[in-house]
């Protein structure tokens, strides 16, 4: 009772303060977000307003019939009343979708574009690697480090078998 009185007050205020919105309905003003609105959310089961705002004649008649005993309503009438109040049922609003495929596909697409950019960068932007990365140089370097017995306890030289002249198994 109180709710309907409050709602009618708010409703009157809504119409009077947003006449310009009613006229240019494509433009969304910030006041629209402050007015009671309908939402289909499973964590907000009873929305602030009904889904259908302006009832047709038959719907108005049905609403009158609703004021009497509900056992006289047929199944179709009950469903019609539900659809006046709510847009989607819980089953409909919670349904699965294939959106995840779009999201994953788009993400992988952009990762692929990034890979192409990196390949172009390696080819056209970066200079050559220093000669110290050549296999022969690395071999000479490693031989020198083993001769120096670098880190002989737990590091490199500890992994080399000096008797057999090969890496320890």
């Amino acid at each position: 009772m109180l709710a309907t009185r409050v709602f009618s007050l708010v409703g009157k205020r809504a119409i009077s303060t947003s006449v310009c919105v009613r006229a240019h309905e494509s433009v969304v003003k910030s006041e629209d977000f402050m007015l009671p609105a309908y939402v289909d959310r499973r964590d907000y089961p009873l929305p602030d307003v009904a889904h259908v705002k302006h009832l047709s004649a038959s719907q108005k008649a049905l609403k009158e019939k609703e004021k009497a005993s509900w056992s006289s309503l047929s199944m179709d009438e009950k469903v019609e009343l539900y659809r006046i109040k709510f847009k989607e049922s819980f089953a409909e609003m919670n349904r699965r979708s294939n959106e995840w495929k779009t999201v994953v596909g788009t993400a992988m697409f952009f990762i692929g574009i990034t890979a192409l950019i990196i390949m172009w960068e390696k080819l056209y932007v970066y200079g050559p690697l220093p000669q110290t990365f050549d296999k022969e140089w690395v071999a000479m370097q490693t031989k020198r480090m083993l001769d120096m017995k670098v880190n002989p306890i737990q590091g490199l030289a500890s992994k080399w078998d000096y008797e057999k002249n090969e890496w320890k198994k």
């Binding site: 220093p130 110290t132 031989k143 670098v150 880190n151």
Partner: protein, 166 residues
């Protein structure tokens, strides 16, 4: 906060303030003493000064006569085959093994840090201050390190190479 059975316990509160304070002081004072004891008594046989510049090191051997030289990184084009890029220098610090060596480290301009990880050495080179580190090496060889305090554009290009000879 005003319940009578949890207020007005002055004796208890005094005890549980004074007693932990005594316990903590009795832990702290020996701990501080031990901290200073861990600064070993070394009597090093050799002292070398290492001065950091932007972007090279200067080593001074002044114990027996004067030897002062700079140590610059070898540019990659000047490397001998098998050398380590960004680690080789033109003049290495030559030191003896099995003798305590004292390094006095300072800087001419900005902060640097004289580091040789395999010898367990890292000492900051602070301008206007002399820091000391003492070590005794046991194995001969060539030991590499890099400047460990950001000091400008060529901070990564001023390595330290110690050649330890028997």
């Amino acid at each position: 906060l005003t319940n009578t059975s949890i207020t007005d316990a002055q004796e208890m509160e005094t005890i549980w303030t004074i007693l932990p304070a005594i316990i903590l002081i009795s832990i702290a004072l020996p701990s501080l003493r031990i901290l200073y004891l861990t600064d070993e008594i070394n009597d090093p046989s050799f002292t070398i000064k290492s001065i950091g510049h932007q972007w090279y090191w200067t080593y001074e051997y002044t114990d027996y006569g004067g030897l002062i030289f700079n140590s610059y990184m070898l540019p990659p084009l000047f490397l001998n085959p098998g050398d380590l890029r960004l680690l080789e220098v033109d003049n290495r610090v030559v030191l003896p093994i099995e003798a305590p060596v004292r390094m006095m480290i300072t800087s001419q301009d900005v902060l640097h840090s004289w580091t040789i990880p395999t010898l367990g050495l890292k000492t900051d080179a602070v301008p206007g201050r002399l820091n000391q580190t003492v070590f005794t090496a046991t194995r001969p060889g060539v030991y590499y390190g890099q400047c460990s305090e950001i000091c400008g554009a060529n901070h990564s290009f001023m390595p330290i190479v110690a050649e330890l000879i028997p």
